[in-house]
Symmetry: D2
Subunit: 369 residues, 4 copies
């Protein structure tokens, strides 16, 4: 195996990205090599570059949500229904793997996204361990990594348009228990927020109010299914509260999904709810500091349900692809990606994402033709 | 009706209590007069005296949880099973009534403790409206007030021992969904906390750690069913956390019931939980100020469920009496009341409760023989 | 009040319907008179005519789902938000009322559709008690009957198109907990089945297979949102089972909603589910005899959830109108009613419904211009 | 490894059991050899002997619930908390293993007891595959088999007293959602029923009515926590129904757990419930034929929840051991085993279990001193 694979390496926080060459890995039984078509540049990659996540073994190859074509398989790898994968199949893979199946979170509380043994491509592996991130011409799929064949209706472009945000939003909307007729507010108009809006709409929620900024993202939220958008730049807090109350018979929303990131958004979420409503906290993926709230008025007296929502598991990934297949023609997920870059452009693209210029961006390591 | 009824009046916040005479009320159809045996002096009465609740129409006759003997009935009043009440029946009544049955909380979200039309004996009625509080020789039971006949096993002393705290704790434990084998922490060793400990024990929780002060209340918690107690006076925060982790395989509790009152107890509750645990906030009945917490670490990453719990409804009241009938011989609810006072002693007794001298106190307006 | 109101009377099972005159009722405080625009002829009316329901006080004025214009009000009647109704308002009313608020079902188990004191317009009232059925020029709305003002988007024609079947289906879909991406089968293509298909679609279910007959109803189910229809006339049982498995990765459906009426449909529903799926039984409103099933294979080993679903309450009625307002332009509820009749034509129309000629029919007692 | 291990072999349905010798297995990485202390003789073993289970690869070594002492370990095997097991540890193991972690039941619906790849010691392995059943001097624990160290409070005798029935009952009670104050009926007084009674009692249920036969099992049910027992031999169906109604305010039970086995018990369970109650079907482990019920009266109108309950998973096994540790001193699980036999007595003991002579029996393959 003397072939070489090019990949983007992030040497450490705030250090310039580099393109390096790696040897093509020798595959063990149950492993595969994926030729990358698209790999997302996500807000988490900005956090990685800022050194905001704990325990990251820099240097790393970033890229935790990718789609590609199976180039080589060693042994038989089967899908959920037992059908074997074949070389040439276009597949997506779940970045999170290695859930141990042997700890309290896996076996007793059955909240597998809290398994301490989970590993994440592009985040918890160092470049020294090989091609274990998506910003590379090829990705080494270790045994046990969960892959799903894209159905005909789901092009690689559509999949990467949904990407990390969609899978996270599937979990958040499930955790919220959104049902037909629920009045839903989504805080945050980034990629999780956009997909949360779409999923609320597909679930029959009404109204769906998206609150965020800047204006182009709010316009996008309207295309994704929001019935109304409120700009946090243009409207002060009290007016946002009044607007939501006006749309909900004066009561407030049934469900708020926080996908904003700012700690104070959690408090605003509680304020926007009706008595007895449900707040899902999905946007505090990194530590942006504390929030202060009145636990008497906002929690006890209001009789709220506040539900943290961490990561996602295979069921959300599986559901996401079925949703894309069914609704991807109508819901403009593919338009969320507004910037594509080759490996060499990764650094510049990452800075653009940092500056919130594109809603989403992706790396295209190989010639797509 | 020239008979006079003596009652304690709280003229306003921080003003001395007085015993005044009221005319015995003329009863309308479906109403009754109750000769009071016991009426609780509860932490809420201290809040009333401090002027901490909004919209209280002083002067008032305090006393929202009472038990007595039906003296007069006008018309037929029936219990849940359709059996008519009779003069001489010993009954308890639910202080909260007037749930409208016509608003969003009553009809759509079905969270009736948030019905804005609810009225509460001893709190939301003024003395000008009559004998609508329990610190009185007789209580005017308006039509629609829910009363329950005490079964033989439940003496008036046992009922008042459970009292307001037990009914609130029934709701809190239901909201927590405590199940056999759950590791439960109860924060607060007042009357709600004591009953929450007992109900967790009856539900098969194990271990049950009560955290509070002072020591005599912690000793009582052990009698109520706690498997271990931790003193907030003796142990700093980090040691309490370590102690709970040591009892739960290093993971933290499955369920925390906050019945402490201090806003920071809500934060401590979140810290004491395992990933994916459930925190019920039942102790922030009045506004004791804000709490500050890290929404990334304590809510989102930890994947918690935080559930506010407001008030109680008839189902909790009904269940409380059945629980007393079944477990009241073994669980020392009746020992929670450590001070009894006639009407004239109400002011002194209230000050003792304010000083946390007795765990619970009660007014005995009539000669009990 | 010497004005006379004409109404259809069903003298008894299998006896010819008659049009009789009634005095306009004297209204008490909180009551109203509704000028009927439409009143549904529903499958239940056929059951009434067949004498299949217990305890019906014949002669009766049928008609339990109606919409009309408020002609007279006595006193102030308020809606959920406290706004008073006015003469001329077009309103629908919930046929079920008199839920007692004082029994075990109302207060403890909180399953109010099982309150034994509920009364139903058009079913449990005799004609001797007055204008308490919808097949009449005017309906006497007793105090406490829940009415809802139709929003601008919901015409009387649209409301009656949804009618009884929609409200029942809202309950069934809620009971099923249908969520985005669920594979749903609806058994029965009558009015409950048609609305269940539409609600599953609005909730993001996919695929949605409707199974029933005749063909025109199946074509309608496709318009309501089914992704596929299977004819019980054309396909034997084994082929229906195979077809559903083929659409669900060989596993069977996540949810089956039985709205068929034949007892064996309940068994087929269990067979069509995947392991661990949910079956809602909503179609066995009258006693059509027993069903026989293998409780080992279909229940225990398959680990199913089977949920009976009885009647509906105000929350379903309230949600139904909001759903019509939001989706009534796109979903062809109004096309479900294919036959309108004046009072004089009620008997003939009822026989047509008995023969399953129209999918739905309605009485129009007044000139609609 | 020339040592020989003696084991009981069931050559086929209805054929006499034999004691044969097997070579001690060569262990692979992560495997262990367990010296058997006790292995249960369970109703399922009678079904195996009757040839009632499908796909059993006779000849087999029976015994699916066992407890023993770790004799040899190859490599490091860790418990849930990461602590390594050591030779000499007394452990129980979950008979079900090999849950694939890759199918729809494991990953999407998360109902792992329906994973089609599960294997069960003593049932789905043939004797040709080695020491994979508990009626043997030693058991070959394959890699991935879940074992739990018995805490000090749980003797091997106590563990085997709970055994298969307790783990199954933990699942059934969890599925029922039994809560404090629920009126519970348990149908069946075998080992699942006895443990279901005990778990209902520990969960605070009241009353707890056990219905079954013969009388000695009903007396045992009283010791396990039943508040009342009804004999199916002495009382006809109508009287059992009347007795349960009399204990529940005329309404019926909140929860029925069917652990009886006869198909008609499922129907009786539905009859014994109050409107809106919960029936868990846990006793139809083998096919005992169909049940016939009125789906109108018993399912739809009664608004029931009927929940199948298949097998158990690691969480139930884990919880069972914690429950034994906490309550095993008070609840007489150990008295359920009334017959112990050496390997040579297995055939006779199995016939005794078939004749329902002992409530439970166990094999003791080694000298216990």
């Amino acid at each position: 195996m003397s072939r070489r694979v090019r990949a983007v390496v992030m040497p450490g926080p705030r250090r310039p990205l580099e393109v390096r060459e790696f040897p093509e890995p020798a595959l063990e039984e149950g492993e595969a090599l994926l030729h990358t078509l698209y790999s997302e540049i996500c807000g988490t990659d900005v956090h990685l570059w800022h050194g905001r996540l704990e325990g990251v073994p820099y240097p790393i190859i970033p890229g935790h949500v990718s789609v590609g074509r199976l180039a080589t398989l060693r042994g038989t790898i089967r899908d959920l229904d037992g059908d074997p994968f074949r070389e040439g199949d276009v597949v997506a893979f779940l970045d999170v793997h290695g859930t141990c199946g042997a700890c309290y979170a896996c076996l007793v509380s059955r909240q597998t996204t809290r398994c301490p043994h989970r590993r994440v491509y592009g985040i918890t592996y160092g470049a020294a361990q090989g091609l274990l991130g998506g910003w590379a011409e090829a990705i080494h799929l270790k045994a046990g990594v969960k892959i799903l064949r894209l159905p005909e209706e789901v092009t690689p472009e559509l999949y990467i348009g949904g990407g990390c945000g969609l899978v996270t939003a599937v979990h958040a909307v499930e955790r919220a228990g959104v049902r037909i007729g629920d009045a839903v507010v989504v805080l945050g108009a980034g990629s999780v927020g956009q997909s949360a809006v779409a999923l609320a709409a597909i679930s029959g929620a009404d109204p769906i109010v998206a609150i965020g900024a800047p204006d182009d993202r709010l316009r996008m939220a309207l295309r994704m299914g929001a019935t109304e958008v409120l700009s946090i730049d243009a409207l002060p807090h009290a007016e946002r509260l009044a607007a939501v109350r006006a749309r909900t018979g004066g009561r407030g929303a049934d469900v708020v999904i926080e996908a904003a990131g700012a700690p104070e958004a959690v408090v605003e979420g509680a304020e926007l709810l009706r008595d007895g409503g449900v707040l899902v906290v999905a946007g505090q993926y990194t530590d942006n500091g504390p929030a202060t709230w009145n636990v008497h008025a906002l929690l006890n007296r209001k009789h709220l349900d506040v539900r943290g929502c961490w990561g996602s598991d295979f069921s959300h990934f599986h559901k996401a692809i079925r949703i894309l297949a069914r609704h991807g023609r109508r819901v403009p997920w593919r338009d969320l990606v507004t910037r594509l870059s080759p490996l060499e452009g990764a650094g510049e693209a990452l800075q653009a994402v940092e500056a919130r210029a594109p809603l989403k961006a992706a790396i295209t390591p190989n010639d797509l033709r």
